[in-house]
């Protein structure tokens, strides 16, 4: 059975790929989400509940399930405390995600996240995403921080 293929986008920098990742997450758009990931059997996604998924098909299925859940209120992720280390072939972004419900200003909790991007012939793609709950929920900034670039 042919594997469902994501739309083709080219992300010229790791932060372009990161921004696309968060936009796809907030929009709950599975095609846009998977356009960010490398089409590779070694991609890894660890969700905040501790579920670890390895390989394109499993990672896609995980996001599909997440996005198909009942939605009473859209989620927004405000990012803070970002660290980015980039080499010619790979980049690591460490960031705290503050989960905010649409039409609210207070954070419902925060998540520590490590995003790893790899330079491929098709631009920068996500190789791994590891997200886990922060030790303590932190309030969202009263003014949402600007995106990372």
């Amino acid at each position: 059975m042919p594997r469902p293929r994501a739309k083709t986008f080219i992300f010229p920098t790791p932060l372009d790929a990161s921004n696309a990742f968060y936009e796809a997450f907030e929009a709950r758009d599975i095609e846009a989400m998977m356009s960010v990931w490398a089409e590779d059997e070694e991609i890894v996604c660890v969700h905040p509940g501790g579920l670890r998924l390895v390989g394109y098909s499993a990672v896609r299925a995980g996001w599909s399930e997440l996005f198909s859940g009942d939605v009473r209120s859209r989620l927004r992720l405000h990012l803070s405390e970002a660290v980015l280390v980039q080499t010619i072939s790979m980049a690591v972004q460490s960031v705290t995600e503050h989960v905010v419900l649409e039409n609210e200003t207070e954070s419902r909790g925060s998540v520590e996240t490590t995003n790893i991007f790899m330079h491929t012939p098709a631009g920068w793609r996500m190789l791994a995403h590891h997200a886990s709950p922060s030790r303590e929920p932190s309030p969202a900034p009263s003014i949402p921080p600007a995106r990372l670039h």
Copy 2:
């Protein structure tokens, strides 16, 4: 105040650095642990409880605190489900750690871990370590798996 400096070791591959990391962890040896890390203000360590530490001093203090705690039984970490992606300048290791107490065979729980290594003039060093509890504890293999190489 001069920063305490780790002993100098050269790790010729990412897996050498990874093995040294786990040996230092099991031995609760702060100097050996810090010899694995890059001496950089952008290193990041997320512990399973959700504490995120950024920078050499904070990462060192975190491990020092962990290693100085009361110890009734030594911990062993058995690794499984390892994925390694390596480029010329950076490497990502995703692995499940099964926590086993010395003199026991059953796992007390498991942790999903992302380790990131960077190639430096002093060999491969750890740039980031992100560990968080697995969704469900998995039993340790009855025969501990061999180290990763």
